[in-house]
Symmetry: D2
């Protein structure tokens, strides 16, 4: 095992979903279709086999089944692939709150890898921490799941930019 | 106002404290005294006027009353000062879980500034997300508080290293 | 164009290669074969079509030809894919300096996206800034290249951990 | 010594100054006075004893003499104080390129600590990597200097926002 963590509490982080469903009002009532359409245009998500499993205002979940062709040299999912689903989850969490005439771009993100990204599938969830007119900031987590057992394997902090007047497609 | 955020839900983040008090067992029962002694040796915290207000296993809170000599050019607390209390809160959240013969050092951190750090005081809280034998990873938030009203003004993600066999003082 | 940069000097960053070839002595004389073997075991790099084009002590370059199935919703290479080659370039820059009995893992990285990742191919280069017994820190850049014209499209800062006594495969 | 680095080449990074003086044209010819006036309004820099020693278009250097009241628990300069001068150096590197009617704010930054921040003084230098209409991205380094000997002790990557129409003071 890569980084030998001596303590890994089952619930070291409150689930992001606990914080959502209350705070944000989407400015575009059609936000879910818009997010799903945009996700469907991401060739990279299709190549990796990622699926968008949940969209709520300011919150998004993406699943990625484990495949050997997604791995780094030790057989775990490559950090860049982990970041790809974390980045998309964060980007669409933000995009769900954007006006209908705006598009989204990632300005930057930082990812910490906490445990090997193994298991049967990865689950990336992200939520908006702050939504502004120009920038949005998100946090995300990636879990490695086997059966119903989840291990936190990465955390992300991300900055998005609102591209007003730019079509998403 | 610096970054014009159109939406700032009152509780955009679950309070870190909701996640603590359960997961972590300190390896050193005297962890609180150890953290407080170490904090008292930080000349920088004294210079800034910061106080350590809460220590629990894997969790730490630091308060900083507003002063004009802590500011940047617009009169808000300087980002570096905001990061100083966030970094110390994260470092001591981690240190509270370390063995009695180990010291702590910050490897790196990333800070996002979400709103002006004004108000009567700043409250930095941080919690350990993962505690390992070599590294510990934390997340933190800084709030600007006026009376009992809190505004989230910064979030942090941090990596610490466990310096085994090194005295803290 | 996503982020409208008004000024983009042709050579805003000194090429990393200017800093290499001098500072580092690999502890393993067979470092190049070791890096190439490890890279060849990264299923993700094969899936993306990435090639390792240069390895020197503390320095590594990876190329990625543009493909539609690597893109985000606007047709540029997905930030996660950009980060995948930047992360591997940084990881192998570090690994080139590691002892023969050690493996490498990414602890964390941060990526800023500066311009659309378009063009005919991406070039990720990374170099070690500091190589320690436990940790190594790298910096990297990703360029979008069309013909011989290069545009800087991402910069990275990364922390690696040396896994002593762990086989790479 | 905190992080035992086995290899620390004297010049592991090309000096940022090698990359400047060529690329950027300040939109405000009075950029230097503007930067110096703004710096002089930062109460925090005065409290810490920091001095602005060099400003060129897209480039800035800040010096900080060592003092005991700037330290963490081991007697080195506190990471937050290191980040304060790195953040200001980056912010003013960016601000030097901004139009006369714009102000600057830090969106986020990430700092890696590479070696103990000791010595007689710290030197923070930062340069703009990309200057846009809305955002600017910088990189910075902090050196610990004793006599004429420099040790690289921190590196930073930073995102700034251009606040158009906002007075700096």
């Amino acid at each position: 095992m890569p980084i030998p963590f001596s303590q890994a509490p089952t619930l070291s982080l409150p689930p992001a979903s606990a914080a959502t469903g209350s705070g944000f009002t989407p400015s575009n009532p059609d936000y879910e279709n818009r997010v799903r359409d945009s996700f469907a245009r991401q060739g990279a998500m299709r190549l990796l086999g990622a699926r968008l499993t949940e969209v709520r205002p300011g919150y998004c979940v993406i699943e990625l089944p484990y495949r050997l062709d997604l791995t780094q040299q030790h057989g775990y999912v490559h950090a860049g692939i982990v970041s790809a689903i974390a980045d998309s989850a964060g980007g669409y969490a933000g995009f769900s709150l954007f006006p209908a005439d705006a598009s989204v771009l990632t300005v930057e993100y930082k990812l910490n890898l906490l445990a090997p990204a193994g298991g049967e599938r990865l689950i990336a969830q992200a939520e908006v921490v702050k939504a502004g007119r120009t920038l949005a900031i998100t946090r995300g987590e990636v879990y490695a799941e086997t059966g119903s057992k989840r291990t936190l394997c990465a955390i992300m902090q991300q900055t998005l930019i609102v591209l007003t007047g730019k079509q998403d497609a």
